[in-house]
């Protein structure tokens, strides 16, 4: 029970009590029983009856079989070569195109791998100045959106009965153009943030042609508060990038900069640069003060639980304390804020705050305090002041600024729009690839206001909540079928080019608008927007670049690179406006009652990709939940509300009651409730149907605190339960948390920076001490592996647990989506998982992440139990799995100590959502270099054998030896922090070998003596163990 866990958590001891289960927190006897009967769960009857589709398939298959029996059995089909061979294609080799992702306001550069003309994988563009070859999970998964069978394939028109029927582009355009021409009032264009200068120009042109047009821009989550505060403090809209890599101390206040606040790919890279064990002197320390566990909180050295409305008091108390210690000449009075009182009220250990204050003073000018975008302006200003007085502003990158092409409209602007709509002043609304019915606060009444608008049109890729309220729906291209450009930062532009021609009868959204502008003079052509884009570059952007190359050549060069660097040189100077501080409140505010926080989902973002199975099945980094969102609360709060995991609670933030299932998050602040966005879509395809709960009912059109945080919410227990599936419980073997099994068996090995500084070999010595080691399975084999031997090293100091690698692996290795029901039965198929281990107390846990994949053991326990020799060893040290030999006994999975083998209980392509993954268009996403596995076959991580074979083939062709560093596995390529290294163990002077034989290196479960080829670099916590 909770009582017998010791609460001392301040300093990490080397064998903390790791515990993994969340249900065990509550000592649920039902759960214990279920765990004991795991096999029973597996053998559940899965035959949910023969659906109509399956029946027809069966009939068809029988008929086909009968036909085949009579046909020419020697026939081997046909080979269809090209009629005219495209120049750039060489069959069997991938072609790469540089482009730009436009799924969020970061507009990262992407490199699209295509095979025989179809894109199969999205990676980051290494030439791109910001993303540097990395791309987030959502960007990677967007390849699945391209081949989504649920996409709109034609423009649609709503009939009088309210049904949508297929129509042609010509008739839909004609119909809407008539409306536009009538000009009976205002036109409203609703769009997400525009990052493209050319799209911006297009909208301006549209406004010129139809002068009554007004553009409304929104993002569900945005930096507007932080930017506004910045502008007030420094009088400039030069929003600098923070040099996370140079900071010695990072204090993050309710800011999830590694997860969803800002450009997470860039932040993660810079943060990890500052956490390099090779540069231990400059190892940064991360303090996180937050309400609920976030990805940043997981990586914290010290974590404080602070309610968001108390962050202001926290910052001011810090200022007061710093002022007392180190006269800062503060321009305002902070004497009413006392750090001691704050610590007492919020149950924060004083030692911890002492460390924080000491660090801030010691590392003046080398520390950064960062406030989350959801915090109110006042807190943001106070944080700016804190950084200012500590001289931390030299960690602002003064030569690079965020740039946005479109100002976001405030909620008030939208309130006005709604009232204009209601009064009938607006005759046409154009949803420019946006979904305001789902995104805007429910109480704004946008949905009903649409009824008063003469004509509503929506440009969208797939049906959504807004498109069903429209008269005309224009099916638009996916980003990989579109032209475009983007400008998000000082210093460069990025370009977007199509890599496949439209799969369906769709058009690019910009081209649709352009067609409406040019309707009298020009008919639509596919090249329409392309030439508009080129013209804009030629006349507006190219001249400013002072390029010496002639435009057409410049353009092709730019498309090839995907990025155009400019020589804009800005050197911003930041001068703090001290007058402003008079507006800050000088005494703390009280806070009681429940606080509700809505947060951008790590996996789904704002929900526009909710029909993406890879994302839905990507475990949330905190509790590893899949397919749903939930109300995340602390154990204490759950007790007060007398609810258990999966029970529903009802939340009222002032707009009526909404119900959500709860899940207990260790480390959550009491009386706060955190809910992720992006779920609960009502109009969506097969995959996203019925997943999770919408947050728009919690949001308000006139938020009192901030648009994402609601104080004084009414919360009570509701009836009913809803099952949240979490993977955290899978393969769980601990009975009580105190069993301490994870550290004892050497799954996780951790230490502190100080210990390492003192004696780098401290972990190696410790391991030597009487640790049990099993005898070797094959004692005689000493002379093996003379040539190349493949290995991987994972630096747990750099791994932030973001799960980007999982999506990369899914895409590379044709891993199927299995669905929520199968996930519940632990039948997930992902080859790579990120295990989360919690340690310390339930109230203030320490979290460790560990990517777990096939360890390719030299003495692999799976191999000697296979009755058909379907899994054996290669001469280069890989544990090979041969699908066409496997008969599915599952012995290997049972004998695997790492639980990394995955069994195809079904042909999931057929099983999931009635053959969703067997639709014709879905097939195009598969990597042709990897077999698509069927039912009854075991599978697992192969170290991307297809990429290894590619290197082997080129080595043979070029008549040279194999170079280990030429192979990059998919997970390694996608890792934003470069935590994963891969290479040849026997290449002694390579970079990889350094990690393989690292002082901090260890193997998971070393005692089992499987001799893994995956080395983990032990995680070091930068705590004050030695001094205190």
């Amino acid at each position: 029970m909770v009582e017998n866990i010791d609460n001392k958590n301040m300093e990490l001891e080397r064998d903390p009590n790791y515990w993994q289960g969340f249900f065990s927190i509550q000592k649920d006897p039902e759960f214990d029983k279920a765990k004991r009967n795991e096999e029973k769960k597996i053998s559940d009857n899965d035959n949910s009856g023969l659906s109509r589709r399956k029946f027809l398939a069966l009939v068809g298959a029988s008929a086909a079989l009968a036909g085949v029996g009579c046909a020419d059995y020697r026939d081997k089909g046909e080979i269809m070569p090209y009629n005219k061979m495209p120049e750039e294609i060489s069959l069997g080799n991938p072609t790469f195109y540089a482009s730009t992702c436009n799924l969020c306001s970061n507009s990262c550069g992407i490199l699209v791998r295509t095979r025989e003309g179809r894109p199969i994988k999205i990676d980051g563009n290494p030439e791109h100045t910001v993303s540097k070859g990395k791309i987030c999970a959502r960007g990677q998964a967007s390849i699945l959106d391209l081949y989504d069978p649920d996409r709109l394939q034609n423009p649609l028109r709503k009939t009088k009965e309210g049904k949508f029927i297929k129509t042609t582009w010509d008739s839909a355009n004609k119909e809407f153009f008539k409306v536009l021409e009538s000009a009976q009032g205002q036109i409203a264009v609703i769009t997400h943030q525009i990052n493209s200068p050319t799209t911006k120009k297009l909208l301006d042109d549209f406004k010129k042609k139809y002068p009554t047009t007004k553009i409304y821009t929104y993002e569900l989550f945005n930096d507007s508060i932080r930017n506004k505060a910045w502008k007030k403090c420094y009088g400039t809209d030069f929003y600098p990038i923070i040099k996370w890599n140079e900071a010695k101390v990072i204090v993050s206040l309710e800011a999830d900069f590694l997860g969803n606040d800002g450009n997470k790919i860039e932040n993660a890279r810079l943060f990890a640069e500052g956490r390099d064990v090779e540069n231990i002197k400059n190892f940064s320390r991360l303090y996180v003060a937050e309400a609920n566990m976030s990805l940043t909180g997981i990586n914290a050295d010290y974590r404080l639980k602070v309610k968001p409305e108390l962050q202001y008091e926290f910052v001011m108390s810090l200022l007061n304390e710093l002022n007392r210690r180190d006269n800062l000449e503060l321009p305002i009075s902070v004497s009413n804020f006392s750090l001691k009182t704050f610590a007492k009220n919020n149950n924060i250990k004083e030692d911890l705050l002492k460390h924080l204050i000491n660090d801030l003073i010691t590392y003046k000018g080398k520390s950064i305090v960062f406030a989350g975008r959801s915090l109110p302006e006042e807190t943001q200003i106070a944080v700016n002041l804190l950084n200012e007085v500590l001289g931390n502003n030299n960690l602002y990158n003064s030569s690079e600024s965020f740039i946005s092409n479109s100002e976001l409209n405030s909620l008030d602007d939208f309130n006005k729009l709604v009232s204009e709509m209601n009064s009938g002043n607006i005759f046409a609304v154009i949803h420019f690839d946006s979904n305001p019915v789902y995104h805007l606060p429910e109480n704004m009444g946008y949905k009903n206001a649409l009824k008063k608008v003469g004509t509503v049109v929506t440009l969208t890729e797939s049906a959504n909540e807004t498109s069903v309220k429209s008269n005309l729906v224009f099916a638009i291209n996916h980003q990989l079928e579109s032209w475009g450009d983007a400008k998000t930062r000082t210093g460069f532009y990025s370009l977007q080019q199509p890599v496949i021609s439209p799969l369906f009868n769709t058009r690019q959204k910009e081209a649709v608008l352009l067609n409406w502008i040019k309707v009298e003079n020009e008919n639509y052509t596919e090249k329409m927007y392309h030439s508009y884009l080129m013209d804009n570059w030629k006349t507006n952007i190219y001249p400013s670049l002072n390029s010496k190359i002639e435009f057409t050549r410049f353009w092709y060069g730019a498309l090839n690179d995907g990025v155009v660097t400019t020589n804009e040189k800005e050197k911003a100077k930041f001068s703090f406006d001290k007058k402003l501080l008079n507006s800050l409140s000088t005494s703390p505010k009280k806070s009681d009652g429940y606080t509700v926080i809505v947060k951008e989902s790590y996996v789904l973002g704002d929900g526009r990709q909710a029909n993406n199975g890879w994302l839905q099945e990507l475990p949330n980094p905190m509790i590893q939940s899949v397919w749903d969102n939930y109300a995340s609360i602390s154990i204490e709060t759950a007790k007060n509300l007398s609810v258990k995991n999966n029970d529903k609670i009802s939340i009222d933030t002032g707009n009526g009651k909404k119900e959500y299932p709860i899940f207990i998050q260790p480390g959550a602040t009491n009386n706060t409730i955190t809910i992720d966005s992006g779920y609960g879509r009502t109009t969506i395809g097969k995959v996203g149907e019925g997943t999770g709960f919408s947050i728009s009912g919690l949001m308000s059109n006139q938020p009192k605190f901030t648009p994402w945080i609601f104080t004084d919410a009414k919360v009570s227990k509701a009836n009913g339960t809803y099952t949240i599936v979490t993977d955290q419980e899978a393969h769980l073997f601990e009975k009580t948390p105190s069993e301490n099994i994870f550290a004892q068996r050497g799954i996780l090995v951790e230490g502190t920076v100080n210990e390492y500084k003192k004696y780098p070999y401290f972990l190696k010595e410790e391991k030597g001490k009487g640790n049990h080691k099993s005898p070797e399975i094959y004692p005689e084999q000493k002379e093996l592996y003379n040539g190349v031997k493949w290995g991987m090293a994972i630096d747990l100091n750099k791994c932030i647990g973001c799960s980007e690698c999982i999506v990369a692996c899914n895409a590379e290795n044709n891993v199927p989506i299995v669905g929520k029901e199968q996930m519940e039965k632990d039948r997930r198929m992902q080859w790579l998982r990120i295990d989360k281990y919690y340690s310390g107390s339930y109230d203030e846990p320490i979290v460790s992440s560990q990517p777990m994949l096939c360890q390719q053991c030299d003495d692999a326990p799976c191999e000697n139990v296979c009755p058909v020799a379907a899994t054996t060893h290669t001469s280069d040290g890989l544990n090979q799995m041969v699908y066409n030999r496997c008969v599915g006994t599952r012995y290997c999975a049972n004998n695997c100590p790492y639980k990394v083998r995955r069994f195809n209980y079904f042909d999931f392509r057929d099983h999931f959502k009635d053959g969703y993954q067997k639709e014709e268009v879905f097939d195009l996403v598969y990597n042709p270099e990897v077999s698509v596995r069927s039912r009854g076959v075991m599978e697992k991580c192969t170290f991307c054998i297809q990429r290894i074979m590619e290197e082997k083939a080129s080595a043979i062709r070029e008549n040279r030896g194999i170079i280990g560093s030429n192979v990059k596995t998919a997970c390694q390529e996608s890792c934003p922090t470069n935590a994963i290294k891969f290479g040849d163990i026997n290449a002694k002077d390579s970079v990889f070998a350094k990690y393989r034989n690292h002082k901090l290196g260890y193997y998971a479960l070393e005692g089992v003596n499987t001799k893994p080829n995956v080395t983990y670099i032990a995680k070091l916590r930068n705590t004050h163990t030695e001094e205190s």
Binding site: R74, Y82, S90, G92
Partner: protein, 189 residues
């Protein structure tokens, strides 16, 4: 003891029946082996293209058409445009060339019948074999003397392994050729 009918069945009839069955199976198995492996499969192609004429008599290099064979996994059946490099002028009046030109003009791919095939869980790579100096003939037979191409060698896993295990005797014309790898992941993944 009197021999019953059952004894007769068990002692005489059953063994004979079993023997006949096993023998029939064994004979059929070995006789049909070539057929099952696809040996001698020589389908009619949509255009009567002759390798004997092009590769044999005119001595055009295999790689003039099969351009991928040194670079990629696939040898590649040439695009129609490759044929038209010559046949826009050469023999443009012959009936087969008229057929060819029609394909080209209509922009349609020619549905060549596939002759050599490995299952789709096998990832065979032409380039690594050719770059070692192994001639096309070793697997595809004497194409230069075939008017109509057919399968001459077996494409089963055992025929791959035969060569990988004893490269020296199977490909005697390449000196110092090492045996090929035998790891499953060499071909299956």
């Amino acid at each position: 003891m009197k021999k019953s009918f059952l004894d007769y069945v068990l002692r005489v009839r059953l063994p004979i029946t079993l023997f006949v069955l096993v023998a029939a199976f064994a004979v059929t198995y070995y006789v049909s082996r070539a057929e099952r492996d696809g040996l001698g499969y020589t389908p009619n192609q949509p255009i009567n293209y002759s390798h004997k004429l092009h590769a044999g008599q005119m001595n055009i290099d295999c790689q003039y058409c099969h351009i991928g064979v040194e670079k990629t996994r696939h040898a590649m059946v040439p695009a129609v445009s490759t044929c038209m490099n010559c046949h826009t002028i050469a023999r443009a009046d012959k009936p087969e060339i008229i057929k060819l030109k029609k394909y080209y003009d209509d922009g349609i791919a020619i549905p060549w019948k596939r002759i050599h095939r490995v299952p789709d869980f096998v990832y065979f790579n032409h380039s690594v074999h050719v770059s070692q100096g192994i001639d096309c003939i070793s697997c595809h037979g004497d194409i230069r003397n075939m008017d109509k191409v057919g399968q001459m060698k077996s494409f089963t896993m055992s025929s791959c392994l035969d060569c990988h295990r004893d490269a020296h005797n199977n490909v005697p014309y390449v000196k110092n050729l090492k045996n090929g790898p035998e790891n499953c992941w060499t071909c299956h993944r």
